[in-house]
Symmetry: C2
Subunit: 200 residues, 2 copies
Amino acid sequence: MQDQIEFYCEFASPYGYLASTQIEAIAAAHEREMLWRPILLGPIFKTTGAVPLAHMPLKAEYMVQDIGRFARLLDEPIGWPSDQPTNGLYVARAFYYLDETDPESAWALYSACYRRYWVDEEASDTIDSVVEVADALGLDPDDVRDGMEMQETKDRVRQETDAAMFKGVFGSPYIIVDGEPFWGLDRLEQVNRWLETGGW
Amino acid sequence: MQDQIEFYCEFASPYGYLASTQIEAIAAAHEREMLWRPILLGPIFKTTGAVPLAHMPLKAEYMVQDIGRFARLLDEPIGWPSDQPTNGLYVARAFYYLDETDPESAWALYSACYRRYWVDEEASDTIDSVVEVADALGLDPDDVRDGMEMQETKDRVRQETDAAMFKGVFGSPYIIVDGEPFWGLDRLEQVNRWLETGGW
């Protein structure tokens, strides 16, 4: 079996969200499995010294325009939630708790929260909001709630973020294909071409 | 006549260099003229608080890989000069001095220096090196040297950088098409499509 496509994303990143809506089709076209890896950019930015785009004059204004234009080009709906930047900690915890036993449900929950926040503009930054989405998906809400509060889950989020940074991940989305790193929504075409050609 | 394509670039930016090798063909395909606008990102970064990519852990390493990969995809040669980041001040001065009377020669000189630095890895960050390139292009070397030292020329570089920032320019390359801003080498396909369709 060929390697999975590693997909790193931060919940607060609209570029990460939009890429998440595209990458599965690219993977499927090349018969690759996905390895979803939500991370927290906060601790990574502390190490790299990066400043969130939304906090930079000029760049922040441009980003709003760029995101809307890119989403229209992809024909993907996107909103502009007023509570940015949001906190993806609890979604990440729920993801990694479920990922231990059921990776498919883990991503189903994460991506449902992603859509709820970035399309429906509903806050998804509390334990209750994440549990509500889990419930709507038919997952056991009490189990998800308990799982999010386990020390092992909290540790796992930290470990996965550290492991990502160790691999060079510094932004969202960040995609690794057969060891080759691609950063940014705007690199999806190169990811697709890399899968098609084996590199250039 | 339709509006010119405004192209802002920083001499020290390899993404700016690579985009400069592509944008003329895009403009020509849509019968547009180019308005070349070299700028200095240093003063702009002071305002926006941005950190040069080359100074950021992880991002800097990724950039080296990304630039090489992107250049191969475009089939454009690129080197990796050891004296990065270089200083584009004198090239910008020569450009704006010539631009007053002869915009075509101004860009011929700037782009020759761009290639000399990014392809041939030869320093182009002194008055002498820029004058040498001007001489090789058949321009009057003494005239270019004198022009670079005129107060009006120095002021013009500052004014153009300020004017760019006022328009929202915060990085390199930065391209404005009919009032629509596009940042980055990776937006050239969107620039092309925008010219083709008039927007989406």
